[in-house]
Symmetry: C2
Subunit: 449 residues, 2 copies
């Protein structure tokens, strides 16, 4: 297929679990129907084996670079210290800019808290949103009860000059944030459609991350508390973005992706949040409840409607897939982990056969077809969180046993040959292209001649 | 609404979990797509809060009588001793017969192992299938490994004379059983449709109960073992029954119900079986993973297609609902627990607000709207099964917390007023209509004048 220039609108939800949207088994069952998300799924490809990294920063690093986050120094969420992508990373926004796309991000970045690591320094023409995560609002929120206040800001910027802090990211603005992201997204889509040039709009929403503080228009709508109210809100914003695309007459050749960044956090810390659906585990583990999240891809020009696929896809893969579609450049001077999944979009199978799961810098698990090997065990019962290294790996057939409860390693030792091959190839790649140290402070790669 | 005479075809699966069919989040995710079951759901009403009893016999007793199984002496599975419904119970088959229906059951009865408790003694015109469960096949299956053999038979009978044993229910016949049930069902539907008189066809399939022994035509089709193969088979038989109904030209005014009898068994006993989807728990507990199972109702003449409802419905309710539809008699000389849910079928809300969950004769839990109170805690981790009485009840919001992990009793003591009212009403009913002793050996109720 020759290269084309579809618009790309990428909606990334925060901490939304596999089991939250209606089309993934949540919705009405959670007293929060999601008709717009479900409709999007019916118009496109719904993935049931879409794999992300173990937390916000790593997943966003994987998406933006097509590289395992441990390679770019982004293998965990770092608070209060310099963090994020090195300025020399070649992000998805860089790659799309270089083939003529306009680029914008409205929402949560979480890949750099210093000027040369802001999105407008890493390929985006413009940015509105937050630099880090929504947790500081939570601290702020508890201020009158005497709890530590960590101030955080809303940012705005354009490429070519430093971004500015424009408002406090406090509980009030947190409740308004995703509405504002949506307003700006709809305006941007309308304006860009008029130009006739292709655009990449990245919308990392701040919901459904705790604290669940719904917009005043949505407070109480679910009858089951603020989390369910926020799910109504998420569905509404999804619908507004889709409506803006379709109203602008660009629906046919716009790739819409709707996905989450990681599994829901443990109930043990926060009370009920998102739900991992049929899977075990939570954010910060390597169980399927963390690794697998919703992902819907709509592109009427090329993707048949109403399809559901359980083929393995990774958040890493959008980089190489978009590059293949638009004829963008994929760096060869660094380790790349992205797989071009256009064969899947075209109705075939995913070329990806396995994913490797790091939790921080721990190689925690490898999934190969329906088999999954764990090297670390995580306790996920509320109030009983633990992590232990395993003397022998555990093996689960996640298609037969989605809750990863029935260890079959002892009777399937053959799997080690598969996993050893995967680990060996990873280690060889690290010898050739060493990791950037944690925090993203590493030398630029030596360009190949 | 005046009474009508729709045909009724009731397919009851055995041990199939909430998460197994595709339209409930399983299917392709389990390497066992279920296109025919999913299509049935899209043509009718799919329930996401359909509640059953804790095991095979209790659920079947509830379905047949509209009475809590503890009232009819059927509160548990009894093996090797006289069991089942007392001959004076007025089953759904009796009720439908009395208003002119032809009645047949092909499949697993599990409500009586002596002649006057066989289905043909309790309202059915004809029967083909098994008297008890499929477990004895498992023992038989292990015979060459020196494990106890318990012989069991395939039965056949017509009302008016005792049923006969016609074959061994051994591993070979177990693999063929549901194909034979389906063949007979299709013939019956075709024949009955020609008569123009209404019929009630009860199809309690023997799948997906262990041992998963697929029909030779289905062995290996899934590429993920016999359980997934059997899911292919279940979907195929579902499609054949639907095709027979539609081919006979009676689809519009035939009520098709497709449901399971209880949650999947614990992995800890058998290895991976069915999956409870987003819920916790397994057969023999009172968690949602046991209580909630798939239920699809298709009736084009009266039920709008493609609807999904999370309203509470119980397996008890078909009795009163069918009685309301056909103008059948509901006994007044015994305690009845069935709620007429025709308002739900007609597009409104379910009139049922709560369910009471017994495990054996233990009142284990009460669900009221989205709140669920447990009086007993069950450990469901493989190899760590236990049961403990609770000093204080546990309360979960199952819409916010489907895995019942976050106890909110301490901050919601108001719930006790609700549950006390429900328990009080139940106790008062027992004073008026004492339970039939376990095994179903009780005196006939004194007829009211």
């Amino acid at each position: 297929m020759t290269s084309s220039r579809p618009n790309i609108v990428f909606m990334l939800l925060d901490n939304l679990g596999f089991g939250d949207p209606g089309c993934y088994g949540g919705g009405v069952l959670r007293m929060a129907p999601t008709p717009r998300i479900d409709a999007l799924a019916s118009q496109g490809l719904r993935l049931t084996n879409f794999n992300v990294e173990h937390a916000c920063t790593p997943t966003r690093a994987a998406l933006m670079t097509g590289r395992l986050p441990i390679r770019s120094g982004c293998d965990r969420v770092r608070i209060g210290v310099k963090n994020g992508l090195a300025p020399w990373e070649y992000t998805m926004a860089n790659m799309l800019s270089d083939v003529g796309y306009s680029t914008a991000i409205y929402g949560k970045w979480h890949l750099g808290n210093v000027p040369d690591r802001h999105p407008t320094a890493l390929g985006f023409d413009e940015w509105y949103g937050i630099q880090d995560s929504t947790d500081p609002v939570f601290d702020f929120f508890n201020a009158d009860r005497g709890i530590f206040v960590r101030e955080t800001k809303v940012w705005e910027g354009r490429a070519g000059s430093p971004a500015n802090e424009t408002a406090d990211y406090n509980p009030e603005n947190r409740a308004l944030m995703d509405g504002e992201i949506t307003d700006r997204a709809c305006r941007y889509i309308e304006e860009q459609a008029r130009t006739g040039s292709p655009f990449f709009l990245y919308l990392p929403f701040t919901m459904i991350h705790h604290p669940a503080l719904p917009h005043p228009d949505f407070a109480g709508v679910s009858g089951n508390g603020p989390f369910a109210d926020c799910m109504y809100e998420v569905d509404h914003y999804t619908g507004r973005v889709i409506d803006a695309i379709d109203a602008a007459g660009i629906g046919d050749d716009t790739i819409v992706v709707w996905a989450s960044d990681n599994g829901p956090p443990s109930h043990g810390t926060l009370g009920p949040q998102g739900d991992p659906g049929p899977f075990r585990g939570c954010l910060g583990t390597a169980y399927e409840g963390q690794m697998r999240v919703p992902c819907i891809i709509r592109w009427p020009k090329r993707i048949a409607p109403g399809r559901v696929s359980n083929d393995i896809v990774s958040i890493l893969d959008f980089y190489g897939t978009f590059a293949a579609i638009v004829g963008g450049k994929v760096p060869t001077d660094r380790a790349m982990d992205s797989v071009d999944i256009t064969p899947l979009l075209d109705g075939g199978a995913s070329p990806r056969e396995w994913v490797i799961a790091f939790v921080g810098n721990t190689l925690a698990a490898i999934k190969w077809h329906q088999y999954k090997v764990h090297y670390v065990e995580y306790g996920t019962t509320p109030g009983k969180r633990y992590k232990i290294d395993l003397e022998f790996p555990q093996l689960y057939n996640v298609a037969a046993d989605p809750k990863e409860e029935w260890d079959i390693f002892g009777t399937n030792l053959w799997i080690s040959e598969v996993t050893h091959g995967i680990v060996h190839a990873y280690r060889e790649s690290v010898k050739r292209f060493p990791h950037v140290p944690l925090g993203g402070d590493g030398p630029a790669p030596v360009r190949e001649r």
